[in-house]
Symmetry: none
Subunit: 176 residues, 2 copies
DNA sequence: GCGTATCCCATTGACGCCCATATGGTCCCA
DNA sequence: TGGGACCATATGGGCGTCAATGGGATACGC
């Protein structure tokens, strides 16, 4: 199961290169600037929601000004990161056989299913239909840190998914 | 043959030359100037539809004034790009034996299945029968970014194709 | 001359930019 | 240790700008 989770992670964009290299100082820096924990904020009348301050400062440290958002491949959640996230996907496409139907589908998802968004001066983002439709979000958003990116969840869906993941881990632990 | 054409499509669409490096400024520029995300607009009584502003500014940045449109090889969608898209196809054809059946068929699709179109002053394009017939579009158009070009889809067909691609991604991830 | 496409202008509704307020937490000082 | 000032964050809302759309008027082709 652990392996499976690791794979899931990779699928949804958490790259394994995250830890692998760089000077000690750089690694310290990265540790400091991970997306971690979760928080739930309300959507206002105009459809905006504040990105948690902790996440915003990570974005600032990484010099991320435009957010690349896409509909996650596994969960009913929107994954959000910097343009480097998109570039990683594109490299992945370029790396595998560029003639495969896989690459075509991949492009349909990451280009056609991805958006660039910007935060306003107060660090809020618009919750568009693009986000609502895919996640089921209506009036509250749960922000979930995923190391090098974060996700937008419908609050109940998140606790459910988390509970399920916890349950499977427990079983795996008893088995092994 | 079909596979071969699909390959062609991919070559031009998700080109492997993707932009691995460059100054920060250059990368910002590139991020800004690729076709990304999707949006659905209505067709008015005269059969016109507005191209999303984001796509128009990409076209402007690339100095594209005439649009080359052709019926996509794999999806029921119209692919739209600058004249460079057509030129790339033509180079591809020229690269192989000009008398081969393959080259002949490619030309049939590339040239016979393609048209040039122009936007009006407000950035709208006419939805002709050429487009309607192939895509099933009737009163709404979904614009889908594909990095170096974009596509016109019948809205429902797009969500269906995207859902299928996502499903296959998920399965592939779990399998491996 | 009639249908069709292009040009021009008007409307409106959404989004970005700006400032104001509240609320909770922290730090300092008595 | 308790109270209070201070600060940061989350949230609310006004307003201007621009994009999407609608519709009239004119040019063009069959």
């Amino acid at each position: 199961m652990l392996i499976r989770l690791a794979k899931l992670c990779l699928i949804s964009g958490v790259s394994g290169v995250f830890w692998s290299s760089g000077s000690l100082r750089e690694r310290m820096f990265r540790v400091m600037s991970r997306f971690l924990s979760n928080a739930t904020n309300r959507i206002d009348a105009k459809g905006r929601v504040s990105v948690p301050s902790a996440f915003r400062s990570v974005l600032a440290q990484r010099n991320v000004q435009e957010l690349y958002c896409f509909q996650d491949f596994v969960f009913p959640a929107i994954s959000v990161g910097g343009p480097d996230l998109l570039e990683r996907f594109e490299r992945q496409i370029a790396a595998e056989d560029p003639f495969s139907p896989d690459a075509n589908e991949m492009s349909l998802l990451i280009h056609g299913g991805g958006v660039f968004m910007k935060l306003d001066a107060e660090g809020r983002l618009m919750v568009t239909d693009f986000i609502r439709g895919f996640t089921g979000i209506s009036d509250e958003v749960t922000f979930v840190g995923r190391a090098d990116h974060f996700q937008l969840w419908q609050p109940q869906a998140f606790v459910a998914a988390q509970a399920q993941a916890r349950g499977e881990r427990k079983l795996a632990g008893k088995r092994s």
